[in-house]
């Protein structure tokens, strides 16, 4: 699970109805806060009190919460709501220039996708993840990390595919028998993506407990993985030769090979053997005249 936070960039947490991801999101937020990073939270789906519930005061003090839940459409006009709506809030986060490691938690990306055009969300996420390479000259060592919670069942394959192509790390939550597991797909640039499955559970104070896995008899693997397909199994001709067959094959002289025995046999007439005969019965239509082969043509 350390690799999830170490890589930086966009981390997609894909959850579903059975295996919810907000607790994992909060656990990762807590971990980042404990590392001393600045954590910004864009809360859209649950209220601020509900999100902060379970964190102790130290961590709560480090979280900077942008609330879009109370007033998403800016109706109250009291100035409390975020200017520009959700897109404005995202773009404001892009423009931050505070040094130091930075984590942004989006709760949730699904809400943003439903309220904003997908292209705008993708562009904002890309700008957020690449914020560290903006003109400042040097590339800083600390990456910007964007944790986005995405409810898989709410979206079609289009937005899911588009966001997956942008993400550095994708964590898909599933599980078996009460044990949650995270399938982590990390894409380092220019390298093959790495898969990893990690069983975990979240303790009440939102710390992560990594585990080995559920007990063996509950593993839903019915039979061992079928052996790889052997393409030579069901072929109608013989691909493998036995040793004797190979020797016989090698010793066979091919018809065009002109060996010395053949040469001798052709050169030397065989006196003892009868010469070969050709037996020919002339047909009614056959022309026996050698000189004019076209005699029988009716021209």
């Amino acid at each position: 699970m350390e690799s999830v936070l170490a890589l930086g960039g966009l981390v997609l947490l894909r959850d579903s109805v059975e295996w919810e991801g907000r607790s994992l999101l909060k656990a990762l937020v807590k971990k980042s806060a404990l590392c001393g990073e600045q954590v910004h939270i864009l809360g859209c789906e649950v209220s601020e009190d509900e999100f902060r519930e379970g964190f102790d005061s130290g961590i709560n003090g480090r979280l900077i919460y942008h609330d879009l839940f109370r007033d998403p459409l800016s109706w109250s006009r009291t100035g409390e709501a975020l200017p520009g709506g959700p897109l404005g809030a995202l773009q404001a986060m892009c423009r931050r220039t505070d040094p130091g490691p930075f984590t942004i938690a989006l709760d949730s990306l699904s809400w943003l996708l439903l309220h904003l055009p997908c292209t705008a969300v993708c562009q904002a996420l890309c700008a957020l993840s690449h914020q560290h390479s903006r003109p400042g000259g040097s590339c800083p060592a600390e990456p910007v990390r964007v944790l986005g919670l995405l409810h898989e069942e709410l979206h079609g394959p289009g937005p899911l595919g588009a966001l997956s192509s942008l993400a550095q790390t994708e964590v898909t939550l599933s599980g078996a028998l009460g044990q949650a597991s995270a399938h982590i797909l990390s894409r380092r640039p220019r390298q093959r993506p790495a898969h990893q499955t990690q069983w975990f559970s979240i303790l009440p104070d939102f710390s992560l407990d990594l585990q080995g896995g559920p007990p063996l008899e509950s593993q839903p693997h019915p039979d061992p993985h079928t052996p790889p397909v052997d393409p030579t199994a069901r072929v109608t001709f013989n691909l493998h030769l036995s040793k004797k067959e190979k020797e016989a094959k090698d010793s066979l002289t091919l018809p065009f090979q002109f060996s010395s025995e053949k040469q001798q046999a052709l050169l030397r007439p065989r006196p003892g053997q009868a010469t070969s005969h050709i037996f020919y019965e002339p047909d009614a239509y056959d022309d026996l005249d050698q000189e004019d082969p076209d005699d029988d043509l009716d021209v």
Binding site: C118, H130, P159, S165, L166, R190, D230, T232, V235
Partner: protein, 403 residues
């Protein structure tokens, strides 16, 4: 001839006319020698553009794509004025490598580059180009199994089809910089001096996005419009379309556009099936092709077609591009564990080859190609029929080492 008549007024015989002719050296046949006259600097000298050669089939001017194996499959190279569309593989590893090979080839040949991307800064892309291989140390890294077609066991000399053994082996060595097509080492970076001496223009869309505030309604997506304007400006200002007559040597413009069609360009064909602006990308390709045809340029585009939801759009895009190559990597699919494909990293599909000034084109007989990224090199092979798999419906691949 008029000059001869006036000179020879006094003489009536042909001999004196001939004499005066030879003396004045005036004939109607002028020998077109290699004079240094500036009258026609580039008339019969198309081949003199570095890094190009005429096609052996129809004389079309070709540039190398950076992978000699791919050049061979495309009929000698990529024609100048055409678009090479690469359909990206799922994790965009190999298509970005092909993209970089194309740009690296441009730098080695001294062509001007134009790199457009919505995801990465073009300067960063150029820093990651692979280094060229120019020495003979390469030869000992080559594999030795250049199999011929018929043998199941490669170490047995062929007895029946012995004529094939006499065929020359494919050229698989590095070439010097004056020739067409170079080999690159994917594990090393191109030296900075080479990049700095080259001429390149970069288009990074997020930078341009922030500078405009009012987006006037237009049928083309904003990003595409800006990109087209940028390309047109570069072609016009640098004289690739012959508008400012170049006194200096003619050169080729290599355009590389990365991830076209992804949501980062502002186009939502990857996000929904029924999108508002579904013709934006096709219009872009149409206008781009028009720009390319009237200039000395070649373009490579990588497109994440696996994300495009509407299959009709993919068909239109294929028709609007000239050469289309699809990459399909085995990562994450069940073919990764299939013993047939264990040596390879993916399949290459040549989906379309253009018919330029021709009625027919050069479709290669081999339809099933696989590629693999070895430690340093990207090779395209036709995978050996080591195991005859008549019963499995997978594609059969034949070995044909070309790298």
């Amino acid at each position: 001839m008029a000059a001869v008549a006036t000179c020879g007024t006094g003489a009536g015989s042909t001999r004196s006319i001939v004499a005066t002719t030879s003396k004045n050296n005036v004939t109607s046949f002028q020998r077109k020698g290699p004079r240094a006259s500036g009258t026609d600097s580039g008339c019969s000298r198309l081949v003199s553009i570095a890094g190009t050669r005429p096609s052996v089939r129809n004389g079309q001017l070709l540039v190398s794509t950076g992978l000699p194996a791919l050049d061979q499959l495309l009929g000698g190279g990529l024609a100048v004025g055409t678009v090479l569309l690469i359909e990206e593989d799922k994790y965009n590893i190999y298509s970005s490598l092909l993209f970089k090979y194309f740009l690296a080839e441009g730098i080695i040949n001294g062509h001007t580059l134009l790199v457009a991307s919505a995801k990465e800064d073009p300067a960063d892309i150029l820093q990651e180009l692979p280094a060229p291989l120019l020495d003979d140390n390469y030869k000992k890294d080559l594999d030795e199994d250049i199999c011929n077609h018929q043998t199941p066991d490669s170490n047995i000399k062929m007895k029946i089809a012995w004529r094939y053994q006499l065929l020359p082996k494919m050229e698989s060595g590095p070439v010097s910089s004056s020739r067409f097509g170079h080999y690159y080492d994917a594990s090393k970076r191109m030296p900075r001096e080479l990049i700095e001496t080259s001429k390149w223009h970069g288009f990074f869309f997020p930078e341009k996005l922030s500078s405009t505030l009012n987006k006037e309604p237009c049928s083309l997506t904003h990003g595409y419009r800006r990109l087209l304007q940028f390309i047109q400006k570069v072609i016009y200002e640098e004289g690739f379309d012959g508008s400012n007559p170049q006194k200096k040597q003619k050169n080729i413009l290599r355009i590389g556009i990365q991830n076209l069609g992804s949501p980062l360009w502002g186009d939502d064909i990857c996000c929904t099936e029924n999108c508002d602006n579904s013709h934006s990308l096709t219009k872009f390709l149409y206008v781009l092709r028009g720009l390319l045809r009237t200039s000395l340029s070649a373009c490579i585009i990588t497109m994440p077609t696996h994300l495009i939801q509407n299959r009709a759009i993919i068909a239109r895009i294929t028709n609007l591009s000239d050469t289309v190559v699809g990459l399909e990597s085995f990562i994450g699919s069940e073919r990764e564990t299939n013993p047939l494909y264990k040596d390879y990293h993916g399949l290459i599909h040549i989906r379309q080859i253009p018919r330029l000034n021709n009625l027919i084109y050069d479709v290669s007989d081999v339809k099933d190609l696989a590629f693999k990224l070895k430690r340093k090199l990207f090779t395209i092979e036709i995978h050996t029929q080591k195991k005859f798999n008549l019963c499995i419906e997978e594609e059969k691949n034949v070995d044909y080492n070309t790298s």
